[in-house]
């Protein structure tokens, strides 16, 4: 299909439709409402289910119900709305039914603002809801990637009976870029051996997240963990830029990763041997590649639109071998490439240490500039 100029939110919505989305349940919230709006027209036109729910709480529980029938189902929201969904997300994880969620992140905590941010990394990657579970988290950095990862999210969710979240932000949701959408796939209902569809010609099935006996719940937790290692083995995705001969490594995801790429390109023109690692799966996280890079790089710079969340995972991977520096713009501020370039220059010319929390030095520098 031809490339078309399309807004990130609409592109993800249409990509979901073409990937076989049969039901969408959502609630308006900026900056993701175009997803809901697009599907409010598109799904009924195709004879598929669309409900604007009374709240995100209801929306995620509608998703839960539809997910139990085995159809491709999705909801989308932005940060405060996703917080409200956490109850249902935990139940869905505990019931082991597949669903896709899109979080178009905005500034927080609290009501925050509607500007792009990455403050929900912890919530998304570490689960957010109660209990032991791990969602798959995919982070696009362009509209095209938003399309591709939305489609992939459905395949992964089904393959592992898991939650797959596309974690994006207000800038990617609102920007228009050329992108190619997949062909509209016909909906083929699969005959899952777990789905609740009415016990026609088979024994009845129960889908539940309740395991009253501690032993049974433990078995469930171990099963989820075993499946997670399977996901970790098969599904880690990331993109490398200029890493072959890199002495310094910038790590950033989504919009921050995209801006960091501009900075890395400029640095390369200045002759600095720096590369970029952009994790695409934030969960499972590319620990292995970072581990390898840390054996030959002199230092890392983590760039995020928060106060240092993915930073923790990078530090886990690097294991203190070399310094890991941090640069973040939280609260809805998007960093400019020249800010990151300045950080790259600082990293390559200043004495660095593996001791202490890099956030402290960063905070001091920030407080000197941001009043």
């Amino acid at each position: 299909m031809a490339r078309q100029l399309i807004k990130g939110n609409e592109a993800m919505a249409e990509a979901a439709v073409r990937a076989g989305l049969e039901a969408y349940f959502g609630y308006p919230i900026t900056p993701q409402s175009e997803i809901l709006e697009h599907l409010s027209r598109r799904l009924p036109e195709l004879g598929r289910a669309f409900v604007q729910a009374e709240s995100e709480v209801a929306a995620i529980n509608m998703v839960y119900g539809a997910a139990c029938t085995g159809v491709r189902v999705m909801s989308s929201s932005s940060s405060p709305g996703v917080s409200l969904m956490m109850e249902g997300i935990s139940y869905i994880a505990g019931t082991e039914v597949p669903c896709v969620l899109i979080n178009v992140m905005r500034g927080g905590p609290g009501l925050g603002n509607i500007a792009p941010a990455q403050g929900d990394y912890f919530q998304a990657v570490y689960g957010g809801g109660h209990g032991d579970y791990k969602p798959i988290v995919l982070a696009p950095s362009t509209v095209q990637e938003s399309v591709d990862l939305t489609v992939l999210a459905f395949d992964l969710a089904e393959k592992y009976r898991a939650i797959a979240m596309v974690l994006t932000d207000g800038s990617l949701g609102q920007m228009m870029e050329p992108a190619e959408l997949p062909e509209l796939r016909p909906v083929v209902r699969k005959e899952w051996d777990w789905a609740v569809t009415g016990a026609i010609g088979r024994p009845r099935r129960i889908l539940s997240s309740i395991y009253l006996e501690a032993h049974d719940e433990e078995v469930t937790n171990l099963r989820l963990m075993k499946r997670w290692f399977e996901i970790e083995k098969n599904e880690i995705r990331y993109k490398e830029y200029y890493l072959d001969d890199a002495e310094f490594v910038v790590v950033g995801f989504g919009t921050a990763g995209r801006v960091a790429l501009s900075a890395v390109r400029e640095a390369r023109q200045m002759g600095i041997k720096v590369g970029l690692l952009r994790p695409i799966t934030l969960n499972p996280f590319p620990f292995g590649v970072l581990d390898e890079l840390s054996k030959r790089a002199q230092a890392f710079l983590v760039v995020e639109m928060n106060t240092g969340q993915m930073l923790n995972d990078v530090q886990l991977a690097v294991k203190g071998r070399v310094p890991v520096e941090f640069y973040g713009r939280p609260g809805g501020v998007v960093p400019f490439a020249d800010e990151i370039l300045a950080e790259i220059q600082r990293m390559t010319t200043s004495p660095l240490s593996v001791v202490g929390d890099p956030r402290k030095a960063w905070l001091e520098r920030m407080l000197a500039v941001v009043k």
Binding site: V57, T69, R205
Partner: protein
């Protein structure tokens, strides 16, 4: 010594049996609890309509959290109060299935208030069986939104003081105001005559759904001898004496299409 007339053991003389839509479990409910009666009425209605295989139940959080163990139909287990939302998700993708929720008063009238009102408002083609026993059962007898004025519970130990704790909510009356509701009635399970009427109402509610006539709900006044702290027979009388005056038995919404139903 009781002697059994052998004649009544012949299949042709059998007048009463376990509904097909039941599993052969024994329930976990307390002696004198009317959950078992309500379950049986639902199973009988599903049997009579021949929809057992097409039915999907949504269990709540509360004493009836294990309702899915007792019905031989597909079941899902919802989060507290969210059963109508979950049922919406199921019904919207499987519109030819019979989808029902089974919810207590804490579940439906407190934490799940938004979900039940909006499901009714949307006219979701689902059936809700609402068990009102004026108390939280599973968590140990705390005050419910339906607890009667003056009623002692473990969280209103001096009796519900309406000045401090407000008044009981009459859900059927509220939901009946919704245009999306096709059939909303209250029945009671305190004696055989009322149980028979409850059965008829449950059947009507499911008929409303299969004919696509909108949201249907049957509220059932029920007992909780354990948390009320009274004996089972006394509990049945307590329903009649104390609950019925606050929660009158009646039809609050019967749309003309539902009124015309013959089955």
């Amino acid at each position: 010594m009781v002697t059994v007339d052998v004649e009544i053991t012949k299949p042709e003389n059998q007048v009463y049996c376990r509904p097909r839509s039941f599993t052969d479990f024994s329930t976990h409910y307390c002696p004198g609890c009317t959950h078992g009666v309500a379950h049986r009425l639902i199973a009988e209605a599903l049997d009579e309509m021949g929809v057992q295989e097409r039915t999907i139940g949504v269990a709540p959080v509360g004493c009836s959290v294990f309702a899915y163990n007792y019905f031989d139909v597909d079941f899902v287990e919802a989060a507290h109060g969210r059963a109508p939302a979950m049922a919406t998700g199921i019904k919207r993708v499987l519109p030819d299935r019979v989808v029902f929720t089974y919810q207590g008063d804490g579940d439906l009238a407190s934490i799940g208030m938004a979900e039940i009102m909006h499901a009714a408002g949307r006219g979701e083609n689902i059936t809700v069986i609402f068990i009102n026993n004026a108390i939280y059962g599973m968590t140990g007898g705390q005050m419910a939104p339906t607890t009667l004025p003056g009623q002692k519970t473990s969280s209103s130990p001096l009796g519900r003081d309406v000045e401090l704790q407000g008044y009981p909510l009459r859900m059927s009356e509220m939901i009946a105001k919704m245009d999306g509701a096709g059939y909303v009635v209250r029945r009671s399970l305190h004696d055989p005559a009322n149980i028979r009427k409850a059965k008829k109402a449950i059947r009507t509610a499911f008929e409303t759904q299969v004919r696509g006539l909108g949201f249907s709900m049957v509220e059932l006044l029920s007992t909780c001898p354990t948390n009320w702290g009274i004996a089972p027979v006394e509990a049945l009388k307590w329903v009649e004496t104390n609950m019925v005056p606050v929660f009158p038995i009646g039809d609050f919404k019967v749309s003309s299409a539902v009124g015309d139903l013959r089955f």
